[in-house]
Amino acid sequence: MINIDVLITQLSGLQRQDLERWILNEWVRPDKGAGTFVFREIDVARVKLIQELRDDMEINEAAMPVVLSLLDQLYDLRRRMRVLGAAIGETAPEDVQQNLTNRLVNRAPSRLPDQSK
């Protein structure tokens, strides 16, 4: 939990006006405290991510919302997969889990060793 001034001094190369624009665009969504923004750990990590996308991967600000939207959808799905996996692990008997594994693994056509030669 840090405020915007601390964050800007912590992250090298981060301009206040950039960060304020990102917040305005809702790419970063910190909590609003008493007259200032309060950043949680995930917000800080997200600011770093946006910085890296921009500076290291040359994703400009016009393309940024598309990239962030896709990433958000990806992480939504990964969280859901994780929750689903955990739910299966907690509720399904072992043979059902084994059966499920077999079916998922065997879906793709695989090459067979030929024994007759």
Binding site: R29, R40, E41, I42, D43, A45, R46, K48, L49, E52, L53, D55, D56, M57, S69, L71, D72, Q73, Y75, D76, R78, R79, R80, R82, V83, L84, N102, R103, V105, N106, R107, A108, P109, S110, R111, L112, P113, D114, Q115, S116
Partner: protein
Amino acid sequence: MMGGCALTTDIAVKTLDDPYKALGVSRSATQDDVRIAYLKLAKQHHPELNPGHAKAEERFKNVSAANELLSDPVKRGRFDRGEIDAAGHDRPARPSYRDHAEGEAGRRYSRSGPQQSEWNAEDLNDVFGSMFGQGRPRGDARISGMDEHYSLEVDFLDGVNGATRRLTLPDGRTLDVKIPPGTTAGQTLRLRGQGGAGLNGGSPGDTFIALQVNPHSHFERSGDDIRLVLPVTLAEAVLGARVQAPTPRGPVMVRIPPHSDSGTELRLRGRGVPAHNGLPVGDLYATLRVIIGDQDAALEEFLNKWKPDSPSNPRKAMETL
């Protein structure tokens, strides 16, 4: 900066994830075990011993890097404690965005809003509906077994003549697969009831085997006929001869009529694909190719003096172009 970001580490190709795996030793291996494993693998994969073998070279690099890390007790200790990664770089200490986003905290940036739970009843219906056909099955419902799909490479002649192949499925079952005569590439065999087992008395699924037919060095399929280029000598072509020619069911003697030429096509009736599915047996077409052979002084002397009865220009047809 790049290395610490979850996004980039996902994309980057990891050449070496686990030095223990690269050397095939356990985490409790002694320094001697590590050295013995390294020497063995180094000999096997050394690039000088496997020229042009990119995989061996890659493997050798991994093995060397793994040895460098594990043979040094200090580095090995740091790796074991997670302080450095397999390439010897310091691990980034700070958690990446991914570490947050995949956990509960990630809901903050969820597309459906931070308050939404990951799953709702409608989603589950969608998932189970598409997984099991329609709706979520009750525990006692009869469920047919899943169909299983495999692919199998078939030798050219087995595809022509038919064959039986014994296969071992991933679950350990063996299956005798009858490859019918006249099999063509892309054909799929369906083995009824040989797929996944059904649940609660449901019928088992089927096994589908997609067949690929490998090419042959001499023969070529043309429907149910087979084509073959048959080399003959100059003398055999001009004077005629009986020569042995390969066919899909063994060699046969073929009469080369006198005055044959390069490109003359001989039909060997009934020597193609055997009759199948109500189709008659195919033929074998042998196209002659005259091979002049090694240099021959007598032949050259003869050709120098030779005046053909009817001089001809074999390129006449091309002159209109």
